[in-house]
């Protein structure tokens, strides 16, 4: 469990990125942290594995204060996949890249082999085992980065902007993958401003603006609130927007699922025909 208690954070250059954030993420939850650029999303999640320590307040990961343990210790539990895979790939082969963290954590040779095979397989990278990560396409590099974190099976998985630069197909596969991980009991935290992606995943949504949490609740309640969304400089999901414009003729304003909207419209057409 991650427990953020009234955290303030000021960068060394004087920018106050977090101003009193309190948040609890229980085990097995799926949370999307959203907000405009500079709202403090990435700053907040960097507190979860101790990369940043609060200027004021406390962050507890499984009741351990992040100020008192090393990043390496926390990372064993909290896997963090950075936005840009080019900031972490350095090995000669994909296989070495994935085993890097496992070696850091001191796994034995046999376990490393097993874990690497498992991670390669689950992210459909087995055929690239001996390829240099630098030869891969953007989407594939992103998958290697994800595999390299997933390999040590962290209890909590943080993904910073996982959908950036991914085509529609890749996004759908990513969504399936995240849901699968979440079903297997992992806590998943994604940082994103891809509202359509979040609308399809329907996680718990934490909305941030100016270093504060402005809303926290089910996606269905947060993402369909036009005032909240406007206040955090986001744009409503397309489906919600369509039905919102049809509110006058009796459509609900809190729909964001395509199939649900379809059923509502069919129902309405049937009703009109009668």
């Amino acid at each position: 469990m991650i427990d953020v208690k009234d955290v303030y954070f000021t960068y060394p250059n004087g920018v106050e990125a977090l101003r009193g954030v309190s948040l609890q993420i229980t085990d097995g939850e799926f949370v999307a942290i959203m907000g405009q650029n500079g709202a403090g999303k990435t700053t907040l999640v960097k507190h979860f594995n101790g990369l940043l320590k609060p200027t004021r307040g406390r962050v507890l990961v499984d009741d351990v204060d992040t100020r008192h343990v090393s990043v390496a210790t926390l990372a064993r539990k909290v896997g963090f996949v950075f936005q840009n895979p080019d900031h972490q790939l350095f090995s000669e082969t994909v296989e070495d890249e994935i085993s890097f963290a496992l070696k850091n954590f001191g796994f034995d040779e046999k376990t490393i082999k097993e874990r690497v095979n498992w991670a390669l397989n689950i992210l459909d990278l087995t055929r690239y085992r001996g390829t240099s990560p630098f030869m891969l396409s953007g989407g594939e590099r992103k998958r290697v980065a994800l595999a390299s974190v997933l390999a040590w099976d962290p209890k909590i998985l943080i993904l910073d902007e996982p959908t950036i630069g991914q085509d529609r197909n890749q996004k759908e596969r990513l969504r399936q993958f995240i849901l699968q991980m979440n079903h297997q009991g992992k806590t998943v935290v994604i940082v994103t401003h891809d509202i359509e992606f979040v609308a399809e995943c329907e996680p718990r949504v934490v909305l941030m603006a100016n270093g504060k949490i402005v809303a926290d609740g089910a996606a269905r309640n947060v993402l369909t609130d036009p005032d909240l969304i406007a206040k955090s400089w986001l744009i409503l999901p397309e489906i919600t927007n369509v039905l919102l414009n049809l509110k006058d003729i009796g459509f609900p304003a809190n729909v964001m699922d395509v199939y649900e909207a379809r059923d509502l419209i069919i129902e309405r057409i049937g009703w009109a025909r009668k």
Partner: protein, 264 residues
């Protein structure tokens, strides 16, 4: 704010900012030469304090002070090394004079840092490039120079992100023996270098698509022109150099120890 902000251009308006970079460069160079001329404490202290009015006029006190504070660690090392080596290699000196000589070396270091800081705090990279161009250096080299300077903060930021990303994968930079420590930097240096190369290729493409090198003879929006104040500064620099040569040749500078008559 890091100590390196003391070497980064501050875009504000001040009489020092408006001085021609070439004149300023000559002045800084003179300061350098004079600082290396003398190894006694008194002239170096004079040199140090004489720069403070410039810092105040240039409105960069805060950044300047931060750099001085940041370099105090290195200054302390220089001081200690000097005390130790003077103690062992010139056994006949008194303790007071050892301290004075070590202090002189430390102040010299700070003067060098200080003059660098004044130059870079008050000279925009663009102006620097322009002045290189106007003294006849080919534009390609000037461009490479200004681009290199411009990308330093970008690279620094990127390095920090890479360090974070690798620490998140369990890399511990501190600790271990020397070989281990060097090896720890490989996961940081490789992405940094690869990204820098990638970025420079992208930059080259972007420049070419904006017709870089199309004009044989480039014109510039701003032209640097030496004005009276610039010539004044060059004159001051020349006088400073002449005076210090004179002092160096003909006047025996007393040490602080002698003035205060401290017996070691």
């Amino acid at each position: 704010m890091s100590m390196f902000d003391g070497l980064k251009f501050r875009n504000i308006s001040s009489p020092i900012h408006r001085i021609d970079p070439r004149a300023k460069f000559i002045y800084v160079l003179t300061l350098f030469i004079v600082a290396v001329f003398f190894n006694q404490l008194i002239p170096l202290l004079i040199l140090f304090f004489s720069q403070i009015p410039l810092v105040i006029i240039a409105k960069v006190k805060k950044e300047w002070f931060r750099l001085i504070k940041g370099s105090s660690f290195f200054a302390a090392i220089i001081f200690i090394m000097n005390v130790i080596s003077l103690y062992f290699y010139s056994g006949y000196s008194s303790f007071a004079s050892i301290i004075e000589q070590a202090s002189a070396m430390t102040v010299r270091f700070i003067v060098l840092i200080e003059s660098f800081s004044i130059f870079f705090l008050t000279t925009s990279p663009d102006m620097l490039g322009l002045s290189l161009e106007q003294i006849g250096i080919p534009y390609e080299f000037c461009f490479a120079f200004t681009t290199a300077i411009r990308f330093v903060p970008v690279l620094a930021e990127e390095a920090q992100t890479i360090i974070d990303a690798q620490r998140a994968r369990g890399l511990e930079i501190e600790g271990g023996n020397l070989m281990k420590r060097i090896r720890n930097y490989i996961p940081i240096l490789i992405p940094l270098i690869v990204n820098a190369i990638r970025r420079s290729l992208e930059l080259a493409e972007a420049m070419e698509s904006r017709a870089w090198g199309a004009a044989e003879k480039r014109t510039t929006l701003y032209m640097l022109k030496m004005e009276r104040r610039d010539y004044c500064l060059i004159l001051i620099s020349a006088l400073m150099l002449a005076a210090s040569i004179y002092v160096w040749l003909f006047i025996k500078i007393p040490t602080l120890t002698q003035i205060l008559n401290i017996q070691g």
